[in-house]
């Protein structure tokens, strides 16, 4: 009896191993097919590419910083875009988050509506939004601000809503018990609990938005990216490299400021 059940156990184990092996093989096949489709296995082309890449890198050196004065204004534009875009996102996200949180939403319809809106905003990449806003309000940072801001609402609103849903219900119950109305319950019971996390998410999003703002210029939506694409078009690779280094340096600075700010919250 015990031997037969032991066999049964071994057979189950074996079957599980076969299934796992089959799944792994299928996964590898999908990866191989995808790689082949995009030409990763095209040895000849890759072999051609390597010298071309080396040549390109050679063309980029040494970086050419002679045009640096022209980059200051676009860098400030980029910084302003990230700050303004984040502010728009945060201001719009607060009311949306209370609608999109199960414990504070005024109605189920509004809950699902805002959730879907946030999902939609998150789905449309900011570059696509940049293209649309350039068409709507013309070239320049305004289009970039609107694109960065609108896209950010999707993520900031969702994080805010999740924070609200995780708020401790006990103090909220206490505020309700005093006879406070719904707005007062949110203001006194919920907001003090979620504010630190709201600030943390906002600063984090600002760091992200600065990186997003650096490429907005590629679609004409203002900032340092505009200089980058300009230099690329005239094949001034040494200038391109210099601009990339400048962007890298400012991203590091912005991330540093962001982490310092977030450490001070709590």
């Amino acid at each position: 009896m015990s031997e037969r059940s032991h066999d049964a156990i071994l057979a189950t184990e074996r079957a599980r191993r076969y299934r796992a092996g089959g799944a792994l093989l299928a996964l590898l096949a999908v990866i191989a097919a995808a790689g082949h489709y995009v030409g990763v296995f095209d040895g000849a082309r890759l072999a051609q590419g390597v010298p071309a890449l080396l040549e390109l890198m050679g063309n980029m050196l040494p970086p050419d910083f002679t045009g640096w004065q022209d980059w200051i204004a676009p860098l400030i534009d980029t910084l302003a875009m990230s700050v303004a875009g984040t502010a728009i996102a945060v201001i719009a996200s607060v009311p949306l988050a209370f609608c999109a949180a199960r414990n504070t939403t005024p109605s189920a319809a509004l809950y699902h509506g805002t959730r879907n809106l946030l999902n939609f905003l998150r789905t449309v990449p900011e570059l696509i939004m940049g293209i649309l806003f350039v068409a709507a309000v013309g070239f320049g940072p305004l289009a970039g601000v609107l694109a960065v801001g609108l896209h950010s609402i999707g993520m900031v609103g969702k994080f805010f809503a999740e924070t609200v849903e995780h708020a401790d219900p006990a103090p909220i119950e206490a505020v309700r018990a005093t006879g406070a109305g719904p707005a007062q319950v949110i203001w006194h019971g919920v907001l003090p609990q979620v504010l630190p996390r709201f600030l943390d998410v906002s600063v984090y999003r600002w760091e992200y938005n600065f990186r997003a703002s650096t490429v907005m210029g590629l679609v004409g939506a203002g900032g340092i990216g505009f200089e980058l694409i300009g230099s690329l078009r005239i094949l001034a690779y040494r200038e391109v490299f210099a601009i990339l280094l400048v962007i890298l340096a400012t991203v590091i600075v912005v991330d540093g400021i962001g982490s310092a700010l977030r450490r001070r919250i709590q």
Partner: protein, 268 residues
């Protein structure tokens, strides 16, 4: 005067927490509600200020029927019912003063509360109450910097800030050590008799209940199975409330009911 008649509560998932409870508290009286966990104590007390919506029966406070009230009327009544909680339910990141003033939220306009412009009379009263509960000098401390006993004193001051006509007290001592528990319960009873208002206190510690209450209600499986003076609580009464087997075993703290009470959320 608080009159409760045939109160029932069945939760959405079919749990019958209350099966027809009736109780009249004529005037200033400290009533202890005892019973095993899951007996319906939390639900009972929360039905009175409708943090939990009762399924049936009636509740009258000074003649006003509470079960029929709409949103606005309900807020008006809640304004005069002070509540004290097991976990204090303070807003941890705010100061002691702001937590006490929260007791006036039902009485001030949203704009006043938004700008934290409470009338000077309220602020004066908050200072007095904090001194009365022994927290003079702690006004600007953050709530999360206080000890458990001190936090419960803030909770008491917040409830009194409402100028209550009734005090609902839910397991005020379960999170405190025995010595602090006694002093907190003594304070609550003292204040209730000073104000001349009834207090309903859920408490699982029978010893404390008998020592401080003037009347004891025993809840078991959603029904009131005992109602009498502390002196009448004998072994027969206790086994009726907690079951015939060694009732001391029944003194557990957390139960099914807590989850249900929390599940009623912010609906009203």
């Amino acid at each position: 005067m608080l009159e409760i008649d045939n109160l029932t509560k069945t939760y959405a998932d079919g749990l019958q927490a209350l099966r027809g409870c009736s109780l009249t508290v004529p005037g200033a009286e400290v009533v202890a509600v005892i019973g095993p966990s899951g007996a319906g104590k939390s639900t009972f007390i929360r039905c009175i200020n409708r943090l939990v919506t009762p399924t049936g029966g009636s509740i009258r406070l000074d003649g006003t029927e509470l079960t029929a009230l709409g949103e606005r009327g309900l807020r008006g009544v809640r304004r005069h019912i002070g509540m004290i909680f097991q976990e204090y339910n303070l807003i941890e990141r705010l100061t002691v003063m702001e937590n006490v003033l929260a007791g006036r939220l039902g009485a001030v306009s949203f704009m006043q509360a938004l700008l934290r412009r409470f009338p000077q009379a309220d602020v004066d009263r908050a200072f007095e109450l904090l001194a009365r509960v022994g927290l003079e000098g702690y006004e600007n401390s953050r709530a999360d910097a206080l000890s458990g006993g001190q936090r419960q004193r803030v909770g008491i001051a917040r409830a009194l800030m409402q100028e209550p006509r009734l005090l609902l007290v839910d397991e005020p001592t379960s999170s405190l050590d025995p010595k602090v528990a006694r002093s907190i319960l003594a304070l609550i009873c003292e204040l209730a008799s000073e104000l001349g208002i009834p207090a309903l206190i859920n408490i699982h510690d029978v010893g404390l209940a008998l020592r401080f209450a003037r009347r004891v209600i025993g809840l078991s499986a959603g029904e009131i199975v005992f109602d009498g003076a502390p002196a009448e609580v004998d072994e027969a009464a206790l086994s009726r409330i907690y079951g015939a087997d060694d009732w001391r075993d029944a003194f557990r703290q957390e139960g099914e009911e807590d989850r249900h009470v929390a599940g009623e959320g912010m609906a009203s």
